[in-house]
């Protein structure tokens, strides 16, 4: 199960993903992240309440980075206590750590 919530505060959109970042939820994750980026200068992805993290879900976070870079949108990941877990999965898979994207000045 995945629950998504998008809010705006202090000039940034916050997309909260709660529950499972699993294959079954990939469409919902993509849609929530894309909606959060619409018209935003900076998007904060709140991963603090993620309970299950699977490779298809992780792949979408890289896709979100690619989208943010394409749009010139700032992208921040806030994993809180899940940060170590996120890093462990990236390390295990030999993948680059998920890093933030600074907003483009031209926007």
């Amino acid at each position: 199960m995945l629950e998504t919530e998008t809010t705006s505060a202090n000039g940034e959109n916050v997309v909260a993903l709660r529950g499972e970042l699993s294959l079954a939820e990939t469409k919902a994750i993509r849609d929530a992240l894309l909606a959060g980026m619409d018209g935003a200068r900076t998007v904060r992805v709140d991963l603090r309440e993620v309970t299950t993290l699977e490779l298809p879900g992780l792949q979408l976070l890289y896709a979100a980075r690619a989208e943010a870079l394409k749009r010139g949108v700032g992208l921040l990941f806030d994993a809180g206590d899940n940060q170590a877990r996120l890093e462990r999965m990236c390390e295990f898979a030999g993948l680059a750590a998920i890093s933030d994207v600074a907003p483009s000045d031209q926007e």
Binding site: L23, I29, L60, A66, L86, R88, M89, C90, F92, A96
Partner: protein, 713 residues
């Protein structure tokens, strides 16, 4: 003596070591739950136990190890989080594995019931109660992520045997799962996990083919990998991992791991890129002409991406390191020897030392210059053999100390206390037999410290202390001894209560004046207890006398120093080895006695230093030192001239003199036990047989020093 070479026994010994490793990792994970290396170590221990157990058809052990291992695989890839409950369960699993190991292929309804319960509790941690096994599929190239190296199965019977039979080779696996991989239930992480079970790996993941969100098929797989795996299992085993993978797989040997291949260098960057098909040989030729760094030239020219260069460099570095490690391993000459064989060696060397001492003594007595000269030449050689054999028998006290982490943890859980255990000087080495013999006394002291010494968090807060107590175990060398201290910051001993109890028990008279330290020493008297509430942890104090006696049986001593409200310090002094003692041979009356050289400061003529006041004291270089006339103590008649020599000994920097009739010579020997009949004899702790067949007694210097000081009072 017959020594077991039964492979099953060897496996059991190896498995016990692995269980110790597992427990240590779990204990450390409680402090550092995110430490990947600790999770890897625990996983490998479980994996090796499972693999080796399989060779001996220990089905129940293998099945349970597999269940726990599967949970650790999930912890390793980040899909499961370690919490306190899972650590507790894993520690219970470790105990259960030890029981299964002891049970072998036997049967025990209680263990079998527990097996079912624990297995189902572990399975509940897994999604759909599943176990690891998988497939996957593929696509393109680009962004190299964090290349991660992992050790494979590591130590253990099965793996070591494999390595004996086959050489380690390194394979490069290019894994490009198909776009459909996720949709058909494939999971590349499980493939990586399976590869890691074969040996050491370097995993390089690529994310540059992952399209932006607006273009992605959210269920498609765009990730791909270059993986290096070093294994002795052979190419077929590597291929088997990818048997059902949907996608592109390319597997090539990049390093054969030849035994005689001593060249550490691997291919150059350009060769690797050509080898991978990422650059044409003619393009490389063209780029090599430039003076700039080849990697930069290739990227600038658009032949390869930065990530491809980075990946090739990672491969180069990995293979070089692998070759270097292999060379070091092949040139090392470590072998495992059963401790019984070492015991036998040390005993024989001890007898050899005694025999040499006898020959030297006989040569001296008979005035045979030739034999004396030969004996002197032998001495240097024997000393080397002795030191080497003793050295072989030494083990770090860490073997002893680290086992107490679990004890402290479990006691804290039982008693509702919070105690931080500190270990210091764990590299200090002691005779393995001494280490074994110290286990029970230390266990008892630690239990006492946590049960009766360190307060509950609430009591500590009320007393203005940190809520968590501190228990420190330290070891260090002091001459021919090792000192082990058990130090806590608990409530300390209550001298008043100890004294009252001692009077109540009839151990001392109510009028007897005792110093604070002497009162504290009463806790070592048989049956002494001050615990208001005896618990099932440390009992009723019964046992501190046994602790003391066990330590004294090892030729050691124990002291307590405590300050009420501040803490307690137990100091154990123990000889480095029990095998051979070097001493000074002395004559008292008609008898011969050996004084351990480690205690001796100096030998003097009694008449030159004795105080004329009639008190039993001598003037030792301006220092007043009490002495004990051993002729009187052992109720022996002094020699005709009535003079004698005083041997000044020091324990914990406190000196006393021991008066004997005469000093003969240095003497090395194996110390024999006095046996049951004489074990309570005062002032002696063992015996030796001299060259002429006469016995000599080993003086218990520690006890005699105490008697000397008590007599002075």
């Amino acid at each position: 003596m017959s020594l077991s070479t039964d492979p099953l026994e060897t496996f059991r010994e190896e498995a016990k070591e692995l269980l110790v490793t597992l427990e240590e990792s779990l204990m450390a994970l409680e402090e550092e739950p995110q430490d990947h290396e600790l999770i890897d170590t625990a996983f490998r221990a479980l994996h090796t136990i499972k693999g080796s157990g399989n060779m001996f058809d220990l089905d129940r052990l293998v099945a349970f190890a597999h269940t726990v291992e599967t949970v650790f695989a999930a912890l390793r890839d980040g899909s499961l989080e370690l919490d306190r409950r899972l650590t507790d369960l894993s520690l219970t699993a470790k105990d259960h594995l030890a029981d299964l190991l002891a049970l072998g292929d036997g049967s025990d309804p209680e263990i079998e019931q527990r097996d079912r319960e624990l297995s189902s509790r572990f399975t509940a941690y897994l999604p759909e109660g599943g176990a690891a096994s998988a497939e996957s599929g593929g696509s393109a190239e680009a962004d190299v992520g964090e290349a991660t190296a992992h050790d494979g199965p590591g130590a253990g019977v099965a793996d070591d045997e494999l390595k004996d039979e086959a050489k380690d080779s390194t394979y490069r696996v290019i894994l490009k799962p198909s776009l459909e991989t996720f949709r058909i239930g494939g999971n590349p992480l499980l493939l990586i996990s399976e590869l890691q079970e074969l040996g050491q790996t370097l995993v390089m993941g690529f994310v540059a083919d992952v399209p932006p969100l607006s273009e992605i098929d959210p269920e498609g797989c765009y990730l791909h990998w270059d993986i290096l795996v070093t294994t002795a299992a052979g190419e077929d085993a590597v291929r088997d991992v990818f048997l059902f993978v949907d996608g592109e797989i390319d597997i090539r040997v990049v390093d054969e791991g030849g035994f005689f291949d001593t060249d550490i260098n691997y291919k150059r960057l350009g060769e690797i890129l050509v080898d991978r098909g990422e650059i044409k040989p003619e393009d490389l030729e063209h780029a090599i002409g430039s003076k700039d760094y080849l990697g930069d030239v290739l990227i600038r020219s658009g032949y390869v991406t930065q990530e491809q260069v980075q990946s090739a460099l990672s491969e180069q570095n990995y293979v070089r390191k692998m070759r270097e490690t292999r060379r070091q391993t092949e040139s090392s000459s470590t072998i495992k020897v059963q401790t019984e064989k070492l015991d036998e060696l040390v005993n024989l060397v001890g007898e050899f030392v005694s025999l040499h001492a006898n020959i030297a003594m006989l040569a001296e007595q008979k005035g045979d210059q030739d034999v004396r000269s030969a004996a002197e030449q032998m001495e240097g050689l024997i000393r080397q053999v002795r030191d080497l054999s003793i050295d072989l028998h030494m083990v770090p006290v860490d073997l002893l100390f680290s086992g107490f982490r679990r004890l402290v943890r479990d006691l804290c859980a039982d008693l509702g206390k919070d105690v931080h255990l500190e270990l210091e000087g764990t590299e200090t080495e002691l005779d393995k037999n001494v280490v074994d013999a110290l286990k029970d006394p230390l266990l008892h002291l630690i239990r006492n410290s946590i049960d009766h010494g360190i307060e509950t968090p609430e009591e500590r807060s009320a007393a203005g202390k940190e809520r968590a107590g501190r228990l420190k175990l330290s070891a260090y060398y002091a001459g021919a001894h090792v000192v082990i201290e058990i130090d806590d910051d608990g409530a300390g001993l209550n001298a008043e209560r100890i004294r009252a109890k001692a009077v109540d028990r009839g151990l001392i008279s109510a009028e007897l004046e005792l110093s604070e330290s002497e009162i504290q020493g009463l806790i070592f008297e048989p049956g002494f207890s001050t615990a208001e509430n005896a618990t099932n942890v440390s009992g009723r104090g019964v046992g501190m006398d046994v602790v003391k006696r066990n330590i004294e049986n090892l030729g050691g001593s124990i002291r307590v120093r405590s300050q009420q409200g501040v803490g307690t310090n137990m100091k154990i002094r123990i000889p480095l080895t029990l095998a051979i003692v070097e001493g000074l041979l002395a004559r008292i009356g008609d008898g011969m006695y050996l004084i351990n050289l480690a205690y001796i400061v100096e030998c003097l003529e009694l008449a030159d230093v004795v105080d004329d006041s009639g008190d039993q004291i001598i003037d030792f270089r301006g220092e007043i030192v009490p002495y004990l006339d051993l002729r009187r103590f052992f109720r022996l008649e002094a020699s005709e001239n009535g003079g004698g020599q005083v041997v000044v000994v020091a324990i914990d920097d406190r000196k006393v003199g021991l008066v004997v009739d005469g000093i003969l010579d240095k003497y090395q020997s194996v110390i024999k036990s006095l046996g049951k009949v004489y074990e309570r004899a005062q002032g002696v702790s063992g015996a030796i047989i001299l060259g002429d067949g006469r016995p000599a007694l080993m003086l218990d210097v520690d006890r005699l020093a105490r008697v000397t000081r008590e007599e002075l009072r």
